[in-house]
Amino acid sequence: MALQPTTLLQGPAQRQGQPMKPGQSLRPGQTPAVAELAGALDIGTSKITCIIAKAHDDVLTEICSYATEESRGIDRGEIVHLDDAAAAVAAAITKAQAAAGLECRKYFVGVAGKRSQGLKSRGVGTLSRENHEITETDVLLALKAARKISLPPDQQIIDSVPQSFTVDDSPGLRNPVGMTGNRLDAEIYLATDSISSVRNVGVCMMKAGYRCESVLFEPFATAEAVLTPDEKQLGTVQIDIGEGTMNVVVYYGGAPRYARVLPVGGGQIVRDVAIGLSTTVAAARDLVHNRGVACDTLIGAMEAKQVLDVPTPDSTTPHKCTLGKLCYIIECRAEEMFEIAKKEIQKSGAANYSTAGVVLTGGTALLKGITNKAEQVFDTGARVGRAKAFTNHPVLGENPAYATAIGLLAYGVRVRGLIEKEQPNPLVDGVLKIYNRIREFF
């Protein structure tokens, strides 16, 4: 059902989740819709993805629609022109809503700019009850204490995930409720971002005419979508290679241990090819997509000598280049990107945690040979991450470029919830269940 844009921007009286007919409006006192609608918005450097889905009990049940729109006003993951970005966001949401025939008001928006970063923190709770039994409140207080850190004045906490708890001298506990002890330490991993970029996201959504339900840290969301519980437990590096940024997150023991946003991405591969082969960016993009290989072990010596036509910027006769040269240019950049990520992980001390493999997502993960390159650099297994666990949609579930958007939905719905409620959640372990409630504290 096609909707007019005017209908989509109606006032708050319109309940979400209801299929709408033109001219229909909600009567006062009408029962709210049962279905909960959630939207996710991945504002990337090259494209904006909007997904609308239904959720029940904080679990995604059905993807209703998705839409992508070319980004405007975004540079390396950060909004640099509010009006342009807002127009692109509005266009993406309008498309997705029209495709779904539903109106969704709340959107989980991902942030991961070059100023985002992750850091570890520790909070101490003193247990003063007579029987020294640890209650949920004690855990909440310890987690709250862990969030109290001094940040640079321009940074704010956008997300936090509990890593483990220590009761007296017993470290590594996942859920200490019910145990006894004198002292409870909570270790959490925090994601921070610059206050202005987070505010820009909110303003951009407002300008587009929608509400930003919650801002989520994209690396955590992507990991939610593509990493298996085993991978999170054993120690995995998840790398989301977007157009302008590369989000690196290391999971170990079920929780993030390191997260970082690096200002390198697939866009640089395309630019390198455009420079190296003296062609246009669009032609370079086509070459990378259709013929690009990121690892020389995948092409034989004969194949490498294959001659490609490369369009010239002034549209005269195309010049020639070998496949080997194209791949050489791509390989150099891909290798360097992984090396930077590896160095950063090593510097942080999280290298010990990242032994179980590398999972790649983002549009660049579709590049042929990129996993082989990751295997070479990280000296471990690598695979392309797809959000199959959450959807069997032929595009969303298969294309690693949509992993972050699906992750934003799944992670947002699970951690932030759509409506406030206290129901037990089968997918969430004890700690995270408590953690959901802590959100209300802050």
Binding site: D75, R76, K114, R115, Q117, L119, S121, R122, G123, V124, T126, A145, K148, I149, S150, L151, P152, P153, D154, Q155, S194, L262, P263, V264, Q268, R271, D272, I275, G276, D296, T297, A301, A304, K305, V307, H319, K320, C321, T322, G324, K325, C327, Y328, I329, E331, C332, R333, E335, E336, I340, K373, Q376, V377
Partner: protein
């Protein structure tokens, strides 16, 4: 520190504002010896004759220097013998002055030199001029700071803090002025407290000297708070004062946090202070001292001393240095501009089994 050593601390107020600051310090630190040196006869008359010294009377006739540091400097040089005698055998000399005034900016560095000559550990606590004062005055203060840093062991700059309500236009000038002076008084008082009374969580003078002796001097920030989360609030106030923001706390090589509280200061609060300071100092090079002062009942005073801005690259906790972006937004990593195509910078594939695909081999 032993009691007899306490007695050997001398606090010297130089100039009218410096003297007022010294007398404010005295309100909470009676045990030390105090000296008041000025070129203006009238404000000096407020102090006991035995501890006050009028200098430069020949030239100024006891009416101040007219904001000219050269006169202040000459006046102190002329009174060398008297000043040296008054400093006596002090182990520690804390000199308070406003570097916006003539006597403070001119005489304080000279007094510092005399104190240092007499083997006293000399610390100059200098109040900066207000932000709205003339650039000539700021230049004068800067010059005085440079001199003081050469002639003393350490210089601590006390920002001329105005409360937010003052800059918003609600506060009268008089109140704002008093408030700024009160802030300076608390900051200087805390500094003296730190130097002379290392507190329960000990800090020896060597620690303090290490922080203060950094080239470029140290900057002090003070916060005080009551009620819930008071320690945290006081530390935040101390660190995020508008003045310190300019210096980027995270760029400081040395961070020293001194927390003074009443008898009711709890372990949890100390723990919270320790965590806060851990968050402030980037390299973990920080010092924490805790001091119980019974006169502070519900209140907590946090003093933050920062130094080493020049000795270290600006390395905030935010983006690490390798992620510094050049003015045009380029990503510089380990000194290399990553935005330049990799194949132009790196001659060969490091992981290749052979050099099968060097760039020029396939050039047509």
């Amino acid at each position: 520190m032993a009691d007899d050593k306490l007695q050997k601390t001398v606090i010297i107020g130089v100039g009218t504002v410096g003297c007022r600051l010294a007398s404010r310090i005295r309100e909470h630190n009676e045990a030390h010896r105090y000296l008041f040196i000025d070129t203006d006869r009238y404000p000096l008359s407020a102090y006991k004759p035995a501890e006050s010294l009028l200098i430069g009377a020949d030239e100024t006739e006891g009416r101040g220097t007219g904001k000219r540091p050269d006169i202040g400097s000459r006046a102190a040089e002329q009174a060398e013998a008297a000043i040296r005698k008054m400093i006596g055998d002090a182990d520690v000399a804390v000199i308070t002055a406003s570097f916006g005034g003539g006597t403070g900016a001119g005489a304080a560095p000279v007094v510092a030199q005399y104190a240092r000559d007499q083997h006293a550990t000399t610390v100059v606590a200098a109040i900066d001029p207000f932000a709205f004062e003339s650039s000539a005055k700021v230049q004068q203060a800067y010059e005085a700071l440079r001199r003081a840093a050469q002639l003393s062991e350490a210089v601590v700059r006390i920002p001329c803090m105005l409360p937010p309500s003052a800059t918003a236009g609600e506060m009268s000038f008089k109140d704002a002025f008093v408030s700024a002076e009160e802030y300076a008084g608390v900051a200087a008082g805390s500094l003296v407290q730190m130097i002379t009374n290392p507190g329960m969580l000990r800090l020896d003078f060597g620690d303090l000297r290490r922080v203060l002796a950094e080239p470029g001097g140290a900057i002090i920030g003070v916060g005080r708070a009551k009620g819930d989360n008071r320690v945290e609030a006081a530390i935040r106030q101390a660190c995020h004062s508008s003045f310190l923001d300019v210096y980027r706390i995270h760029a400081a090589a040395n961070v020293l946090l001194h927390v003074s509280g009443g008898e009711k200061l709890t372990l949890a609060e100390v723990d919270s202070a320790a965590r806060s300071i851990g968050g402030i100092a980037t390299d973990g090079d920080y010092l924490l001292s805790i001091d119980i002062r019974p006169e502070l009942t519900d209140e907590v005073v946090a003093t933050v001393l920062l130094s080493g801005f020049t000795a270290k690259k600006q390395e905030p906790k935010g983006p690490p240095p390798e992620q510094e972006t050049a003015p045009d937004g380029a990503f510089i990593y380990e000194g290399v501009n990553i935005d330049v195509p990799t194949f132009l910078r790196r001659p060969r594939n490091r992981y290749s089994r052979s050099d099968r695909f060097p760039a020029d081999k396939f050039r047509i």
